[in-house]
């Protein structure tokens, strides 16, 4: 039964051509600017090169932007009364959140794949193991941001939700060390933010946990740190999403 719903939801995503285009193209564009065109891309790290690190960061940004906006759109569509319609069916709130999360993962595969193809055909170098692990983490971990979008979308009502989601993602991306390396107090703070955990985990197979910091000295992150970050955020966001979905059955 959930497969039928997932199929229909995928069909809806495919129908929205404009959004699909930006979902697919924007992170690839970022990678070409920040990664492929830079001379430092060829510097070696543990199991690959810096270009690979940048590629993973841009794929993470693309996946997060795609899944979070999907989550926010879900919140908006529930507020328009679809939540009430679904509230009249046996579909459980947790089940619904799970279907939307699965949908987000499917959608996240699009930018991740395109960035990877561009990376592989330019100067990205990494061991096959690092490739497989990084891509898997990028895809699986994107669930977190579908939930993030869903939660923020229900807290910020109406069309403002999409703005809140994309705006906050830019901030979280900087804190996630995606665009340039942080250091000191900012880095300490960043460790508690959700995109830092996700991106650090996705880069771990390439870097073995070494993070470039802006004051020059590389910092090493133990594996438990990003793992704990992702696990804690996953629990918080999944519970919040389910509770908020339940609330959206009532008239608004």
């Amino acid at each position: 039964m959930t497969l039928t719903i997932l199929k229909l939801e995928i069909r809806r995503v495919v129908r929205d051509r404009v959004r699909l285009f930006f979902t697919a193209i924007m992170p690839a564009f970022f990678y070409v600017i920040f990664g492929a065109a830079q001379s430092y891309g060829s510097i070696k790290v543990a199991h690959g090169n810096v270009a690979m690190m940048i590629m993973v960061a841009m794929a993470a940004y693309g996946a997060v932007a795609a899944t979070a906006s999907l989550g926010a759109a879900t919140a908006i569509e529930r507020a328009t009364g679809w939540g009430r319609q679904l509230g009249l069916t046996p579909l459980g709130d947790g089940q619904y959140v799970a279907i939307k999360s699965a949908l987000a993962v499917v959608v996240a595969i699009i930018p991740i794949t395109i960035v990877s193809i561009i990376g592989a055909s330019t100067d990205v170098e990494a061991t096959p193991k690092a490739w497989v692990l990084s891509i898997s983490i990028l895809i699986g971990g994107s669930v977190l941001f579908a939930l993030y979008g869903l939660v923020l979308g229900q807290l910020v009502r109406g069309e403002a939700a999409l703005g809140a989601v994309s705006g906050s993602l830019v901030v979280l991306s900087f804190l996630g060390n995606l665009f340039f390396p942080l250091s000191g107090g900012w880095l300490t703070f960043a460790r508690f933010t959700p995109l830092y955990g996700y991106a650090t985990l996705a880069r771990y197979p390439v870097s073995d946990g070494w993070v470039v910091s802006s004051d020059g000295d590389p910092v090493h992150e133990a594996l438990w740190m990003p793992l704990t970050n992702v696990a804690v955020w996953l629990v918080i966001l999944a519970v919040a999403a389910t509770l908020l979905v339940r609330r959206s059955r009532a008239r608004q």
């Binding site: 039928t4 009364g81 509230g87 009249l88 069916t89 046996p90 009532a250």
Partner: protein, 294 residues
């Protein structure tokens, strides 16, 4: 027999900007299987709030609600109850058939999609996007969705709002067919005629309370009385006999049998400038609410 709906001392309050808003105020209601009941009342009477609680979409602030002896949400999950909602949203980017398919997928043993499309007269437009459907077509689609679980209880919240005359007539013809199959039907409306045409029993709500409950003809008689007013030499005597009151020096009374009151006023009280006007349904609600408060 287990009642289809049983409400005991149900209240629902909302947070207002200053004071809490009491949308539903300690109502008791029992509806037996097979009944066709109209929930009649003006906007803001608490009809939708009551139906939302029966459907498990919101919880009562206090009191208990049972649907076929179960908690509302359990009755919905079991497919015993379905509804056509006034503000039930649809996804504009799905087609009619896809929407039915989507909701059907949430039930373990739904009515086949093709059959439901046929019943709701949607087969011809099954591949049309919801965004391209008229208001009446969207309402038929909501009705189709409500048929999917083969519910024992069908709840309709102002089901014909936004429909033209023909669509309205077709809809009620369809509802008659559903009721003949033994379904319990409860619908909210603010049209007295709809209650009159279709419901055996009418529950009149106003200000969050049930102000009258009985066979529809009885409620209709109460609600369709006329206002009789006249200038009288001795209004006090008329007030003693008919009730009513003085408004701007004129005697005014509401009467179910306005003809006999008018006749008596003219022949026995020497009335001048006599007027008989039919009050609106809103006036009737006010009159009945005041009656209930006394």
């Amino acid at each position: 027999m287990t009642p289809a709906i049983e409400l005991l001392q149900v209240s629902r309050r909302f947070r207002g900007s200053t004071l809490p808003v009491i949308a539903v105020d300690h109502i008791d209601l029992r509806i037996e299987p097979g009944e066709v009941v109209a929930l009649l009342g003006p906007n803001g009477a608490g009809k939708t709030t009551t139906l939302d609680m029966v459907l498990g979409l919101s919880a009562p602030t206090s009191g208990s609600i049972k649907v076929f002896g179960m908690a509302p949400r359990a009755a919905v999950a079991a497919g015993r109850v379905a509804a056509v909602l006034q503000t039930g949203g649809l996804l504009p980017d799905l087609t009619v058939a896809e929407t039915v398919e989507f909701i059907a997928a949430t039930y373990s043993n739904p009515e086949p999609v093709m059959r439901v499309l046929d019943l709701a007269n949607l087969s011809a437009i099954s591949s049309r996007r919801v965004s391209k459907c008229s208001g009446g077509e969207q309402q038929r689609l909501r009705f189709a969705l409500a048929l999917l679980p083969r519910p024992d209880l069908l709840i309709l919240d102002e089901p014909t709002a936004g429909m033209d005359v023909n669509a309205r007539r077709d809809f009620w013809a369809q509802m008659h067919a559903e009721a003949r199959e033994g379904r319990t039907v409860v619908f909210a409306t603010h049209y007295l005629e709809e209650a009159d045409d279709f419901a055996d029993r009418t529950v009149l709500m106003s200000g969050g309370r049930i102000v009258a409950d009985g066979p529809t003809e009885e409620i209709r008689a109460k609600a369709t009385g006329r206002w009789v007013s006249a200038d009288l030499a001795d209004p006090a005597r008329a007030i003693d006999r008919f009730g009513g009151q003085l408004v701007a020096q004129r005697f005014v009374v509401r009467a179910a049998d306005s003809d006999s009151v008018a006749l008596a006023l003219l022949t026995e009280f020497g009335a001048t400038n006599l007027e008989v006007v039919s009050g609106s349904l809103e006036d009737a609600f006010v009159a009945l609410t005041e009656g209930a408060a006394k």
